[in-house]
């Protein structure tokens, strides 16, 4: 089972004040009823009133619960649908923050990322590529084009000071990549080269949004779990405001979460060449196996079942009020 908007389920808390309200008001309402109808026939009415209040609360709560479940985008099971997209549009989002100058990946994370991008492009003919660089801000350097030479020229000269805004904002990088895509009817993919060290932004929200747009993100983890210092070109060490050397290491949890939220898959820097083999399955949300290339796997959306149940219970709540019990005059 998959839930597209899990945060919607927090609204289920509303059933608590809804129920508490009726419990607190029950005795008071009973007293009011007694005043209105007179104590001489109150006993008959009070039983009916108690039963009706109980079923009214029950149907009201069930109405709310099923309504909220229908909004949460619950998908149960999977089905195969026809896939009518052809051709690829791939945008590389390359992190050029200072931590990418770390040397735990030879010679530096940034240099290695640039090389891996160049190699990847050479193995993917008839594909449009785009390039986004990001740090504290993001910049669309090359729009979608089949001219890989123009991307190579930029990658050969890529440096951390191409963008002046300091920081590391993966959210902006993903956003700029999403704005780069052009054509309908093509498979769209973002390959994110980063060490996952985020200082600003909400990358997970943006990753979830990409997933809802059928644009998977493939994070490529540049770095290792060893904390290493960052050396600049002039040999200086990057230090924090207290003068201590900054140590950087890969943030695997974030990158795996980004992949999961966008229906992508995470790879380490030394496994980039495997992406090409897995691309077919990632873009169609399939597991490796024998699938017809014109099919894709989607979840079964069952919101209409929950919605119908909520309408039925709302209908019951009307009936409970309006139905006259035959034992009562």
């Amino acid at each position: 089972m998959e839930i597209e908007y899990p945060y919607v389920l927090w609204l289920l808390i509303l059933t608590v004040p809804f129920t508490i309200f009726f419990f607190f008001r029950y005795e008071r309402n009973k007293d009011l009823l007694k005043e209105l109808i007179g104590s001489w026939r109150f006993d008959t009415f009070s039983n009916v009133f108690m039963v009706k209040v109980f079923f009214y609360i029950l149907s009201g709560n069930l109405f709310l619960i099923f309504l909220i479940l229908s909004m949460a985008g619950i998908k149960f099971g999977t089905k195969l649908e026809e896939e009518d997209r052809t051709g690829y549009e791939i945008v590389f989002a390359l992190d050029i923050s200072k931590s990418m100058m770390a040397r735990d990946v030879y010679p530096t994370r940034l240099y290695r990322a640039a090389e891996e991008i160049k190699l990847f492009m050479n193995n993917m003919p008839d594909t449009s590529f785009g390039l986004v660089l990001f740090k504290g801000e993001a910049l669309r350097i090359i729009p979608l084009t089949e001219d890989i030479h123009s991307i190579t020229m930029v990658l050969d000269n890529v440096k951390t000071d191409l963008i002046s805004a300091p920081g590391s904002n993966i959210e902006k990088g993903i956003n700029a990549a999403l704005e780069t895509f052009q054509e309908a009817g093509r498979f769209k993919l973002i390959i994110l080269f980063t060490d996952g060290e985020v200082l600003d932004g909400n990358a997970l929200d943006k990753a979830h949004f990409a997933g809802t747009q059928n644009i998977p993100i493939i994070p490529v983890g540049m770095g290792t779990n060893r904390g290493v210092r960052i050396y600049l070109d002039n040999g200086d060490i990057v230090r924090d405001k207290n003068g201590e050397p900054v140590e950087t290491k890969i943030n695997m949890e974030l990158l795996e979460e980004i992949a999961k939220l966008s229906n992508g898959k995470m790879y380490l820097y030394n496994k980039v060449q495997e992406i090409e083999k897995d691309l077919f399955y990632i873009l169609r949300n399939l597991e490796p196996g024998e699938w017809d290339k014109n099919l894709k796997l989607t979840g079964n959306d069952i919101h209409d079942a929950f919605l119908l149940l909520s309408i039925i219970f709302l209908f019951f709540s009307f009936l409970i009020r309006g139905w006259r019990w035959k034992n009562v005059i």
Binding site: P143, L144, T145, G322
Partner: protein, 347 residues
Amino acid sequence: MGFEFHAAFLIFIIIPPLIYFVHFRKNRGGKIIFSFEIWKGKGFYPRFSIRKFLYFISYGLLWICFCCLIFALAGPVKIERHKVYLQKGIDIMIVLDESLSMLAQDFTPKNRFTTAKRVINDFIKGRENDQIGLVSFSEEAVLRVPATIDYPLLLDTLDKLDVSALKDGTAIGMGISLACLHLQYSTAQDKVIILLTDGENNAGDIEPEKAALVADELGIRIYTIGMGQEEAYMEYIDPDTGKTVTGVYMEYKDPNSGELIRGVYSGKFDEKLLRTIAEISGAKYFHASNTGTLNQIFEQIDLLEETEKRIKINVDKAELYREFILTGLIFFFISFFIRKIILKELL
């Protein structure tokens, strides 16, 4: 907007009897019956009051909530249609001279350069499914935008182009070579360069004829457009020397100093060279003497490079049921608040 499950609208049939059952049926529940025979007077009929108005509003909202849920169940969708091309278009590189002479004011409304940019802008907007790129050159050549479908970015870059960006000089061969470099791996059915210049080749390491030969080997056609008309040149008196100068007036604002430099451009484009380049690559040469002819030339190139377009229409549907559910939920809670808190309804 459309609906995917029209059968859900059948639920509306039960609303009128339900309204009757809840609000108008004689023996409906929720009523308390009083006997007033003893008094033999009229019954209790409360006059119109704010309470009655709120009662009407609260139940109105509740019924609207019910209707919103039915609409949500009917599967409302926002339909968007996208054109998908089943065949690639052609790749076009526009190679634009941005030397200082392009500031000559013999093209309306301003000068050769702004007119060229405007005409190219219209040309790009008239194309579909073709990857278009931009190279500019004066003493050096620079790739401004690689061949791309991203027309908004291309048009934005074209709009920001300025003749003061590169040094003076005209390196036609370099411009053609750079365009060929970025078209060589193109898999498009046709590859085209459109070269606009108003001068002779006087800079760069690569001769234009050799660049044209390379283009021909790569299967790239080069349309050449020579801008300017010597017959329209006028006589001016040079204020420094007092001598008569024949040419076309031009102005240049230095971006560093802000100084406005005025002068007369006497040069002309090398027609023979442009013809040769076009012939080598199997395309055509054009002469643009004014704005009108430049427009016509681009229209002609547009027709010459017309390609068959096979398209299909993809229909994308964005679900809207959540919006209807949320609206219904809001109405439900407002109704609940009015009935239970303000009107103090017992049940």
